[in-house]
Symmetry: D2
Subunit: 341 residues, 4 copies
């Protein structure tokens, strides 16, 4: 940590900072320039942070040097990328995985029809929500247990591993009976009790970036899971909040290469929620794959116009095979190949 | 809901939209202009929304007419403002309440010392966290049950009602034993199972706005509580995420008058978390009170430089009385008086 | 324009709005729902806008129906995309153009060396700044007239048409002597006198999106040029301001497909300024091309570590040919081919 | 400047950075921690910046230590605040100035009527636009020269000094004949040729913050003026772009106390443009004054419903005296008094 003093800081203020740094068991290295003094503090980050030196007299600001995430950091694995193997499918490294399915589980027919289409089209995973976080309490909240049962049936029939969202920590056991990958939605990215509980089981988890979460915060959320011993974390960019009103969210394509530099964990992209519109799903999927994403998570529906939820952003099932062909080519540009069983 | 068709929409596309609106049990009122046709849809909002008409051929966009929140809306009470009475303290309407105390409960001495100072200084409520949402899993996470016990002791000694945060739905019963007001933090603003569970008890709740949540979303979160029967909701502005890096968050002062127009619920402001710096707490508190806030929630610590968490933003306890004097004057400008027992 | 009345609006307030709409020479079409009344106003947009009905008693909000841009709109050309032909190079439609060169013109050797490399590598245009908008008045501001002279020499030697920035309307004549495409930077996107003056000559112009400008505002800036009679406008996405601090700007890849839906004008992407870092330029360029951009504007320098300005984001000249190969493949995925003479 | 190396940086990479720092005439002070090495660079900021060390092998990031603005910095005057005296009115320090008038000069009657009302109500300056930056080229662009003539007449009649906007550097001489304070609008905040030209005359200038400009960038724009010798700069916060759609812009109240810490220059607030709605102007003005603003710039119109431009945000002239009474009280809370002749 570097403590940058104000140009007006007095010698007494500088000494006081040095003493406080040392009181926390850290070493202080002052460096006196012509205009300002900078004090390096070497020691336990948490201890020094607790000193709250930002507010000490004469301090301009405190600049952290080390990244606050450890287990998620790219350095942990010396630059080697993590490849997760889930029910025989690989994701990460050179393996590009398609996660496809309906936004919400609506009915037996809908889930089974979609599952068959996406399996045949090349998807590695079936996605589908039984518990749905909805902005309005008056909106459809998902089929719950019945939805999980239908996902289990689809898995039985198609062999596809299941990705489904956990919203309430009390539903964890029920989710664990069906999910091969537990999804944590953007609104729960900083629900720390939920993350810690998932960390205590060893089921893979896909964590979506919060609408205004920094990449560092996303990695800190992953760290909550990793710290408890669960190493199977996938990160998901799904669009952020900006001033632009022409679309629902702004897909942050730069997150892909930058996350890859910061962490060894796989990074996938959800173009459906970012766009909220079907016609943007193809260009955004191609962009994500070309930029090096480890997968795409896309909504597919046999009859989008009859979907209960988010129909406007679902790809029609019959367009899925052509979609996959294009996305594979974009992923190949980034040196990846489609993950298949 | 108004469905605005594209200038290029065909008569067939227009008819298809009309038929789909009517299939959802709503009435369609087309209005044909020289350049575009607009179709008004009158009927159940949820049913029409589910049609996903945004993605229908020929549709430019769908504009909602009615607000999605009902129980939180100012119209529900015909413009009369809700005044909550909690352990003899009033908040809302002309009653301005100070909620003060440490960020985190650290020790018996710290809590009791602070509680006495803020009670004497004019605070209506004691705030203090036993469970702390921390970005890093390596940071101090609060004293938990022991922290709740200390808050109970402070309440016993000073008579001040307690505001404390609930992070995990499984801790609700423990929190209910101590809290007069349950706090829902910014990170949990869209934790719907938590909100619904709080809605099922009748304890007052203070909901903080998420870092990138719109005012409408904040009201929808209040609606989750209200819908379950709990009418005692307080809203809290605590700073939003913007591009500006000179401060931690940007306090959105406009939220105060605009929320007052949208809802009958009381609106308070947390200047401490927005600023992250003590020297901004006074000007922001004055601004909030002058703009019509129903209260301010402020961090106070007997020895900020020794605080475990967020010391840099805490007011020193001995400056609290002078602070209160200034804030009262600003609140009076907005036609309010300090809430006292 | 639709005027949405408040649920509490009185009949008198509704009548007053109707009368004011008609006083502006427009027709009013009230539509009375159970909860609210909506009044459609058909007539001259500017006249109705001037009424400022948003602030009239009983009005909730005013929703514009028609887009405010006309000459830039996709409808103007019935969905046919504009293809500009500039010094024999095509841009737009299926033609993908590479605009490459140094950020700043520094010296004769630097410009000529770079110009030769990018011409040989497949660039259609040479970019290079003689006038540089710099945040600090103490930073190098460009070589000015001497820079223009060196660009002219590079054009003479390589045959490449020149893209260079105009910052000051008083420099227009000097720029016109050299530039085949006049660049308007992000900071000048809403410099209306500059845009109008460019509109009065017929030289092609490339307008960069402002850091927090909406797509609609970008098109309105294009409209300032088009309105004066200059039809040769290229739009450029170069990254927007968001809360994320891990990169300088956030490249808004969604702007590409959405602009293509809104306008017939060509859309290019500048990945260098968005990223500010060389290692992000390749993935962002591939993403932009795969998402359907009509070109990429990229910084290339013979010795980036010796560049006076923005060296960290420049591609080394010797990596340019390999870069072009990759970008061409991504553009082909989007159905485009490299524009060459 | 501190150069933070990556944990994986080699000794050779560290040496290379040290050599490059020294090649720029600066001194390098390496500080080797257990995990990372940090290199302090002491010397000319511009020279070291040009090295582009962010992109050098082994470098994690570069942290500037000194602020890039000098003449605008609070330190320049050792914490003493600048008080400008303009035509006998003071602004800055303890002097709070009201700048009031119409958005746009529309007619002789309108300007003179408004000027008289605001003079009698306690305004120190008359504002009014003759040249108007409008997003649409189809909107009214101001009366131009005729508008300036009417402002001169209003000044003659009321004695009020004039604040009016300069958009085009070619209009500077015409503006100088009338304006006591030249206004630079938010869209031109980074129009550097315009700023430098204003810097070369000694007329006071009021610079509005750009919609997504940081406070540091605002001060750098002031620096462009100061560097040329014009010391009479006033800064103006007028709302920034955020994700919130409930209002046009988000007034950044925190900018007031933070700018006061950064600079000696006076800081005023424009609540009218931020809000875009009359009913928010009072609470925002009170908030701004209570937070320590040196003035408020507010739109007043004799008949807002008949205004050509921005009528919805104008205060009706007959409400101006009551408005001033309230704002004075809020300014007094911050230790200021109304500036009068």
């Amino acid at each position: 940590m570097m403590i940058i003093m104000k140009p007006t800081a007095t010698e007494k203020e500088i000494q006081a900072v040095i003493e406080r740094v040392e009181s926390a068991g850290a070493r202080a290295h002052p460096s006196r320039g012509e205009e300002v003094t900078v004090i390096g503090a070497v020691g336990d980050r948490e201890h020094v942070t607790r000193l709250g030196l930002d507010a000490s007299p004469g301090v301009e600001r405190v600049v952290p040097i080390l990244k606050p995430f450890k287990l998620a950091s790219a350095q942990l694995r010396h630059g080697v990328r993590s490849v997760l193997e889930i029910a025989g499918r690989r994701i990460g490294g050179q393996h590009f995985a398609l996660i496809a399915g309906p936004c919400t589980v609506e009915s037996r027919d809908q889930v089974l029809a979609t599952a068959n289409v996406v399996r045949d089209g090349g998807a590695a995973f079936l996605r589908g929500g039984a518990y749905k976080p909805r902005t309005s309490p008056y909106s459809f909240q998902g089929l719950g247990q019945e939805g999980l049962r239908l996902l289990a049936e689809a898995k039985e029939e198609t062999g596809l591993p299941i990705v489904t969202e956990l919203m309430d920590v009390r539903d964890l056991d029920a989710i664990l009976e069906v999910a091969d990958v537990i999804q944590v939605g953007a609104r729960n990215m900083q629900n720390y009790p939920l993350l810690a509980e998932i960390g205590r089981c060893d089921r893979p988890v896909l964590i979506k970036r919060g609408l205004s979460s920094t990449l560092e915060e996303l990695l800190m959320s992953a760290e909550y899971v990793l710290k408890e011993g669960n190493e199977n974390v996938i990160l998901c960019e799904r669009g952020i909040r900006t001033f632009e009103t022409a679309y629902r969210f702004t897909l942050d394509i730069m997150a892909i290469p930058v996350l890859k530099e910061m962490t060894h964990l796989p990074v996938v992209v959800d173009p459906s929620h970012a766009a909220g519109r079907r016609d943007l799903v193809v260009p955004l999927s191609l962009a994500a794959a070309a930029a090096g994403a480890d997968g795409v998570m896309v909504e597919v529906h046999p009859q989008p116009e009859a979907a209960i939820c988010d129909g406007p952003q679902a790809l029609p099932a019959d367009e899925f095979p052509a979609y996959v062909d294009q996305v594979i080519q974009a992923a190949e540009l980034a040196g990846k190949e489609l993950s298949r069983v």
